[in-house]
């Protein structure tokens, strides 16, 4: 069965039997990419508990728009796991079909104040969708958890 938990942050969490995903919307693709990333971190921890203590510059490339979104989210999963980073906000300065430049605002994991909720293994191409609608753009990504 499908369940939606609407959170008015530009993304909602979607669930299926063995999966968790994010449905995100925005006025433009930059916002959709930023919201998808926030959605990812909302699965990992409570976003409210993450402070903007540090700024990180992130660059990602990919062969097309869909791959770019997957590579962007997998880049953040890598930074979370290997660099122990949590993010609270993203600002995307450049976005083409093959390249993304972003600034991420967040801090290092501190287990005394951040509860880690779900182990996200990776973002997948499964049921991936990026499309334009009357209000702007929207995307759907399923994560392997």
């Amino acid at each position: 069965m499908l369940y939606s938990i609407f959170v008015d942050r530009g993304f909602e969490v979607i669930e299926h039997t063995a999966d968790i995903g994010i449905a995100t919307h925005g006025v433009d693709l930059k916002q959709v990419f930023a919201n998808a990333a926030l959605g990812l971190f909302s699965l990992i921890t409570e976003l409210e508990t993450v402070s903007e203590k540090s700024i990180y510059h992130i660059r990602v490339s990919g062969p097309d728009r869909e791959a770019l979104l997957i590579n962007w989210l997998n880049e953040l999963i890598y930074r979370f796991e290997a660099k122990e980073m949590l993010f609270h906000r993203f600002s995307i300065s450049t976005l083409t079909d093959t390249e993304l430049k972003a600034t991420g605002y967040g801090e290092k994991i501190d287990l005394t104040k951040h509860e880690l909720k779900v182990q996200v293994k990776a973002a997948t191409y499964h049921m991936l969708k990026i499309e334009q609608d009357k209000d702007g753009w929207k995307a759907r990504v399923i994560f392997d958890v």
Partner: protein, 486 residues
């Protein structure tokens, strides 16, 4: 998001259902699903059949695109999927292995009986919980450097035993002797190394667990005896874990790389998550070499944890290793691609067998089995959920003939994680399990309801199908006494 499947299944018999090649243009072979009619109803809602049909598109697929009775919706491949590819013109697909490369199960027998363990179960589970790092964001206590990680990738379980984590016999009773040949650390990214180093020797989170179990039923006493299981009430230890962030990153890396290969080789795939490359191509070979590194890492991981369980039991019970008698029965990989010899149309051929949430189930007499299991067949380990049962079965000739020597791997989810958690508190789950005589220690009490029995299919029903279809034969059933959850 989910659309119930609208295709037609051809009934072959009560436990075999076929998706004909005519279902979808592009299918190279039919789909074959092992299931009962009642289990089919769950699967129908989930559209996992479409994934069985999609896997049948892959170049070089031989026989059928197979699904075991614990099939559920995966990414590209269904969980519970088995696909064998010809070595000449077939492909290898990282999606056919999954992100958690060599996620698997290990089971060990002991000389202990339930009556002496139960009064001390709190002490035992607490000791194990403190001795084996689990949960999210925890680091291992192994403190390996980059050079040692390279050795882990090449040697697998043997690396752990050489450092004193376990006994040489543990290696003999591990699938592939705990080491897939052909591992090439050069094919592993620095990112995978970064994720792998701190996580070696950790259980992980989600559905990974360590369980102290009691033998609940013995179906074949002679075969059970070969496994060191003599009577009901005897205590077993089961571990379920994989290659952690190391394997996840390797899969992520190769899905990106093989995305380019799909274009290069001109494959037309119905789902981008099915990216693949010819087995013989440089890309395909690179993936298999990196996958072997992750598989060997996972076996090292389970080997170290088994050793720490042994240590914990000694400490908690104040007994010698000889008195405890913890000996490994078997260790299986259930997310893996293997190069194996099978008979197709009367001819012996080498195939690349993908098992994504499926267990190898080789029969008695198979040359890859160690002497101890030559007469019984390979042990198959099938964990259920933490409130019900787990099974030990053995492989059969039917499996060899029909499923490339494969059977099911577990119960399979029934409810989404949030549905399982809705209105249920961690403490409620702990109390419900306590009422059944099961003690639980967990790193995250708020996430515990995800793993409650109600979230899973009944493993009895799944194992019953494999038994009746003849693709594995049940030997022993066990129930948990103590559970450590990541």
């Amino acid at each position: 998001m989910s659309v119930p499947w609208e295709g037609v299944l051809n009934k072959i018999d009560d436990y075999r259902w076929e998706i004909p090649v005519s279902y979808k243009t592009g299918m190279r072979v039919p789909g074959l699903i092992y299931s009962s009619e009642s289990l089919l109803n769950h699967i129908w809602e989930e559209n996992a059949f479409e994934q069985v049909a999609n896997v049948a598109f892959l170049p070089g697929i031989v026989g059928h695109s197979l699904a075991m009775p614990d099939i559920h919706w995966g990414y590209g491949f269904p969980i519970g999927g088995v696909a064998a590819m010809s070595m000449d013109d077939g492909v290898v697909s990282p999606g056919g292995v999954g992100f958690d490369i060599n996620c698997g199960v290990r089971v060990m027998r002991t000389n202990l009986m339930e009556a002496e363990v139960r009064p001390k179960i709190d002490r035992i589970t607490t000791e194990i919980f403190h001795n084996i790092p689990s949960g999210l964001g925890t680091k291992g206590k192994l403190k390996v450097n980059d050079r040692e990680l390279t050795a882990v990738m090449i040697k697998g379980s043997r690396w752990a035993v050489e450092r004193g984590y376990g006994e040489p016999d543990d290696v003999k009773t591990t699938e592939e002797s705990g080491c897939i040949q052909g591992a090439d650390p050069e094919k592993v990214s620095n990112r995978a190394r970064e994720r792998g180093i701190p996580q070696l020797g950790t259980l992980g989170s989600g559905n990974h667990f360590l369980e102290i179990q009691r033998v609940d039923e013995i179906y074949d006493a002679e075969t059970a005896k070969v496994m060191g299981i003599q009577e009901t009430g005897q205590v077993l230890v089961m571990a379920h874990s994989g290659s952690r962030g190391f394997g996840h990153q390797i899969c992520t890396d190769y899905i990106a790389t093989l995305g380019q290969a799909v274009r290069k080789y001109g494959f037309n795939l119905p789902d981008r998550q099915l990216v693949c490359a010819p087995i013989k191509s440089p890309e395909g070979q690179a993936y298999l070499s990196a996958m072997a590194c992750a598989a060997n890492y996972a076996w090292t991981n389970r080997q170290c944890m088994a050793h720490w369980v042994r240590e914990s039991l000694m400490k908690a019970l104040d007994k010698s290793p000889r008195d405890i008698g913890l000996e490994q029965i078997w260790d299986v990989a259930h997310n893996i691609a293997k190069i194996e010899e099978h008979t197709v149309d009367g001819k012996k051929v080498k195939l690349c067998v993908h098992r994504k949430g499926a267990t190898r189930a080789f029969p008695a007499g198979h040359p890859d089995l160690p002497d101890i299991y030559q007469k019984t067949g390979q042990p198959v380990l099938i964990p259920g959920d933490m409130g019900r049962y787990s099974y030990i079965a053995v492989g059969t000739e039917t499996a060899m003939r029909e499923t490339f020597g494969s059977t099911c791997h577990g119960a399979g989810r029934l409810q989404s994680r949030s549905a399982a958690k809705r209105g249920v508190r961690g403490i409620d789950v702990i109390q419900a399990l306590a009422a059944k005589g099961i003690t639980v220690k967990t790193a995250s009490i708020s996430e515990l309801p995800e793993e409650a029995s109600s979230g899973y299919k009944d493993v009895n029903e799944v194992v019953d199908v494999t038994q009746r279809a003849g693709i594995s034969r049940k030997i022993v059933r066990a129930t948990p006494i103590g559970v450590i959850k990541g």
